[in-house]
Amino acid sequence: MTNIMTSLSAKWRLPPAWTPYVLLSPFIVLFFAFGLFPLLFSLYLSFHSWEPSAGLGSMQYVGLSNFTFSLQDEWFWKSLKNTFWLAAASGIPQHLVAIPLACFIHAAIKRSRNLVVGLYFMPYITSTVAIAIMFTALFSTNFGIINLTIKELAQLPILGSILPQHPIDWTNNSDTIKPAIAIVIFWRYVGFNIVLYMAALQTIPADLYEAARMDGAGRLQQFWHITLPSLRPIMYFGVTLSVIGGLQLFEEPFILTMGNGGSDQAGMTAAVYLYRMAFDFNDFGAASAMSWLLFAVVAALTWLTHRVFHMRNSPT
């Protein structure tokens, strides 16, 4: 019996050269099926016109016309403008708040630090849909807590002259939908950036601060001349993530605007628009072309971010 087993195992033994590929195969199969194939298919689709419900056979080669249409489409440019606005309005404050806040938590909170960081991190791990639904209720025009608070504050003597007297139509007005979305995104990702910067802060040697203190440097000088330069690599990482994430914004604006981008498409990001081009307006070819144009923009801005940080780093 043992002999049979041995001969069988010898017969079926994997050649050593194959082992890595076999072990990697689950990932490779999934990557090809759900990663590479859709990517290449969307590239193929971007050169075709396709009426999806008529089947795959109805594809027609149209050359670059999907790209030229997209580049001339007012809504595509409008959605790109919205995307940049939202990426900047939600991304920049994330870092401007996360860096000092991380420094404060790092320096001032010792015993309950993990709890505080955990609380800030909580929105990041909460389901986007749950967050968007909660904010939809908060932003409700007539019954939302945000408008009710503004209404109460408007009764006060000084604030009354600054705050609006009518309830703000947060998610249906083209002027307020973008700030509303930016608030949600900021709230969601600021905790993630705090964790990033906290991790980086822990790697800065304490003797640098000691030496600075002995030389008479104040807290602000220590922050400016030691903390900030030391955080530069993680800032590059964090900003790159914000640029990529900001340009691919989808879930929050999609749910807050009930899937249509809101009044005057003011909350429609490029990712929402290309989804809608495919599934609402049935134009999969143009949607694919737009996704590749968006990819070009993301790649260009990532490269630019790299250049900016590289230029700053080069003298050191």
């Binding site: 419900s53 019954f143 009930m258």
Partner: protein, 440 residues
């Protein structure tokens, strides 16, 4: 059998063949699986399964019909695949495009069925074995026209429709001294009534100014024209009906007569519950929603009447269709199922009574149920109104860019109402965008 059992048996009586108990148990289980497999195979030869894909509340209607189907076809099971409205239609688009996981019967909302008709993804029901052409006359004409292709092909069977009426709160109208005729005489008198209602009670006339635009642009559509495009694909957005719709909507917003809420949002539902909405233009099903979950506390206070200025419009509607690439072996059964759901008055009336699905089959309209008073509407015989509206609604040509057009027009109306953009300029801008898109 666990390992302990196997060990006990291995130490059993010696007169038995020295056979491995593990091997024996494997043999037994193999034999058992062969037997059960064979039984299942024999059963599978006799049994058939009809796959029906639907969305709420059509799924409930199909579910309720299964016992009757099983009575007629004990050997044919119904497998009901139910998804949410948007997910269902995305799944159907994917299934049609890839020709995989296609159901035998597809429920489709009117909004989507036009697109599928145009692309030829559905069976032409005029052809054998369906031969639906003669029976199509038994349905509300506008509902059949919506699924009639360019060459006369019929791609789906209507099952329910949404003839629209105006619902209004009698108590709020009484406080403001407004009569039903003030609401319906003309669109202008409707807006004037809204001003009186707002001044006297503080209640809004309608949920959103867009609602009035939606209906006014339906008035005066010429035969063969669509809502936004004519038969040749030219945009119609600069026509007088759009000017009038925009002016009326702007007047509603300027006088603060709309609650600025969108349908199906919590603000919208609260508006009905708290009595801050005096009227609502909606499909026949709306009274059912109000009665059951939106505002049951307002029972007896609502009434229905025809839309202002003798306008007739539909809000939604459902069809059953058979995908061209569906399993050919099941098509005859699929057709029988569709006929049972749509051509049998008892089934149509059951869906109306249980789910407020207004029948598309006209022979149900003589049923005494239509004359019965509706308690939620203060005993009004509103089903007669909906029946009348259903027979007056005109078919509207569907264009593949209708969804885009609606959104462009909505965006321009927002600019007119919020930013004071000139109506002529707004409609010119919309027309230009639609003209570019029409050729795609």
């Amino acid at each position: 059998m666990d390992v302990g059992d196997a060990e006990d048996m291995a130490q059993g009586p010696v007169h038995e063949q020295p056979r491995s108990p593990l091997r024996r148990s494997l043999l037994v289980s193999l034999l058992a699986s062969l037997v059960t497999g064979a039984c299942r195979g024999a059963g599978a030869q006799d049994r058939k399964t009809l796959v029906v894909a639907a969305f709420p509340a059509v799924d409930e209607i199909v579910n309720a019909a299964i016992p009757e189907w099983k009575r007629r076809h004990p050997d044919v099971d119904i497998k009901l695949i139910s998804r949410q409205y948007a997910d269902h239609h995305t799944a159907m688009t994917t299934a049609l495009s890839t020709r995989t996981y296609l159901p035998d019967v597809m429920a489709l909302e009117v909004h989507y069925v036009g697109g599928f008709t145009r692309t030829g993804a559905l069976d032409d029901l005029r052809q054998p074995p369906y031969n639906f052409e003669a029976d199509s006359k038994r349905f509300v004409p506008y509902a059949v026209a919506q699924v009639t292709g360019p060459h006369g092909e019929l791609t789906a069977v209507p099952t329910d429709i949404g003839p629209g009426t105006l619902l209004y709160r009698t108590d709020i109208l009484a406080k403001a001294g407004v009569k039903e005729a003030d609401l319906t005489r003309s669109w202008e008198s409707y807006v004037d009534a809204g001003i009186k209602i707002k001044a006297a009670t503080g209640a809004f006339l309608i949920p959103n100014a867009h609602n009035i635009k939606e209906i006014v642009i339906r008035g005066g559509i010429k035969p063969g024209e669509g809502m936004y495009f004519d038969g040749e694909g030219h945009a119609l957005v600069e026509s007088p009906r759009f000017y009038r719709a925009f002016e009326l909507a702007r007047a509603v917003r300027q006088h603060e007569l709309d609650a600025k809420v969108l349908a199906w949002t919590s603000d919208w539902a609260e508006g009905f519950k708290r009595g801050s909405l005096a009227t609502d233009m909606s499909g026949a099903w709306a009274a059912g929603h109000l009665a059951t979950w939106l505002a049951p506390n307002t029972a007896g206070l609502w009434r229905a009447t025809q839309l202002p200025e003798g306008t007739y419009a539909a809000w939604g509607g459902t069809y059953f269709a058979i995908p061209k690439a569906a399993n050919p072996a099941n098509k005859a059964l699929a057709w029988e199922f569709i006929r049972m759901m749509t051509e049998e008055p008892t089934m149509q009336l059951a869906a109306f009574k249980e789910q407020n699905a207004f029948p598309a089959l006209t022979e149900t309209y003589s049923d005494p149920f239509f004359e019965q008073p509706i308690p939620f509407l203060g005993g009004e015989r509103a089903r007669e109104l909906w029946r009348d509206a259903a027979m007056h609604i005109k078919p509207v040509r569907v264009h593949k860019q209708d969804d885009f057009a609606e959104e462009v027009v909505n965006g321009e109306l927002d600019k007119v109402m919020e930013k004071g953009k000139d109506i002529g300029e707004a409609l010119r801008d919309a027309n230009r965008l639609l003209q570019i898109r029409a050729s795609r």
